[in-house]
Amino acid sequence: MSFFGFGQSAEIDIILNDAETRKKAEHKSEDGRKDKYFLFYDGETVSGKVNVTLKYPGKRLEHNGIKIEFIGQIELYYDRGNHHEFVSLVKDLARPGELTQSQTYDFEFTHVEKPYESYTGQNVKLRYFLRATVSRRLNDISKELDIVVHTLSTYPELNSSIKMEVGIEDCLHIEFEYNKSKYHLKDVIVGKIYFLLVRIKIRHMEIDIIKRETTGTGPNVYHENDTIAKYEIMDGAPVRGESIPIRLFLAGYEMTPTMRDINKKFSVRYYLNLVLIDEEERRYFKQQEITLWRKGDVMRKSMSHQAAIASQRFEAPYNPEKPPNQNSEDDS
């Protein structure tokens, strides 16, 4: 956001030192538009240059100081005036004085802590940005540069499966199982639904992914639920003893990592909702929370291990001696 307007006598640009090499990530803005921003991780240094360009060369620019800030803030939409800053760093670039020509200033925020992931939601926004300001008596000139921060996690040490028997007494008993409780964003949910007792007329079954954004505290807690995915896993009437498999690829859906009580301001949690629908459109459901996390991009050294896993599809036991599938017969 820049205050370009009538009477601005200078332009500010913020250029990052590693702009050529640094990756960019897509991030949805409040109005739904997708833009690309420079991607940073926790602990990385943010360094670059601030260019102050005089619009009318020869005309001096008097100022009360030039500075650059690195800010991480949470903005609740129902309370727009109050920005909660959880990271606030500042570097003074110039003492109050006069600019007679365009100038460039270097800056470096070393090993900046970026504890949370950037998030733009329905009722809350968490963003990181650089803001360069030329302070003046009447009105400041400033320029902001938004960046996106991703928080990475490593494979959890403990990742137990979720297995539970639920139902309505004497009407419907099922046992559901999901292979993990913590999934990364490009993971696959592998599971099954086993029918123990079916005394109702089921027409189909689906699994939904629900995102719940919680803002506010105490009596003013507000939950915003959003169904991100609906995936039919069964069409028709099951009977006792039948097992329905689940294989749901998460990479196709726009999701964020699970965020719990971020700076005590908001949470974003994900739930699997298993829904059974009967002949009369009655719905029976069971919701279960899952933890989503973001995996770093790491290239695996060994390709044969990956290929061996990919060539297995069903219950065949994994055999490390089996060569990977290389040819596909063309029968044309």
């Binding site: 419907l172 993971d187 099954k192 005394r199 009977v239 039948e242 498999p245 599809r313 069903f314």
Partner: protein, 162 residues
């Protein structure tokens, strides 16, 4: 232990018992509303319908039953279920009061096409309601479907299975 490609093989499942796979399902419940008969003469006439039930659900005492009910009995059932249970009870086919006014060109509420329309609506209503797990716990539903006559001065209660 990190894997670039996820293992998507199916989870282990017990093989299904063949009796379960090919035997009769445990959810068999059929209700038919049929054979409308108009009883009485003149002003006091009314129509009754045969309500026939076939089931293998243990919650029903009789696996087959056949009773006769009139429209006001259905209205009574609907009111009881609304009051006693948390079920959102579906609507009945219309009361058609306008058909009971005099000087109509047709047979009013004893018109064949009207009775057929009403019969269908009553059948839909019963199938929706009788399959509801919560409604199945209500004494009034079982009395309506399987007792010889409806005792409107009964004591509402829940059915418990042994």
């Amino acid at each position: 232990m990190a894997e670039a490609i996820a293992d998507t093989r199916r989870l282990f499942t017990k093989p299904q018992n063949l009796n379960d796979a090919y035997g009769p399902p445990s959810n068999f419940l059929e209700i038919d509303v049929s054979n409308p008969e108009t009883i009485g003469v003149g002003r006091g006439r009314y129509t009754t319908y045969e309500v026939r039930l076939k089931t293998n659900l243990p919650i029903f005492k009789l696996k087959e039953s056949c009773v006769r009910r009139r429209y006001s009995d259905f209205e009574w059932l609907r009111a009881e279920l609304e009051r006693e249970s948390k079920v959102v009870v579906p609507p009945l086919p219309g009361k058609a009061l306008f058909r009971q006014l005099p000087f109509r060109g047709d047979d009013g509420i004893f018109d064949d096409s009207f009775i057929e329309e009403r019969r269908q609506g009553l059948e839909q209503f019963l199938n929706k309601v009788a399959g509801h797990p919560l409604a199945q716990n209500e004494r009034c539903l079982h009395m309506f479907l399987q007792d010889e006559s409806v005792d409107k001065s009964y004591t509402p209660s829940k059915i418990r299975q042994a």
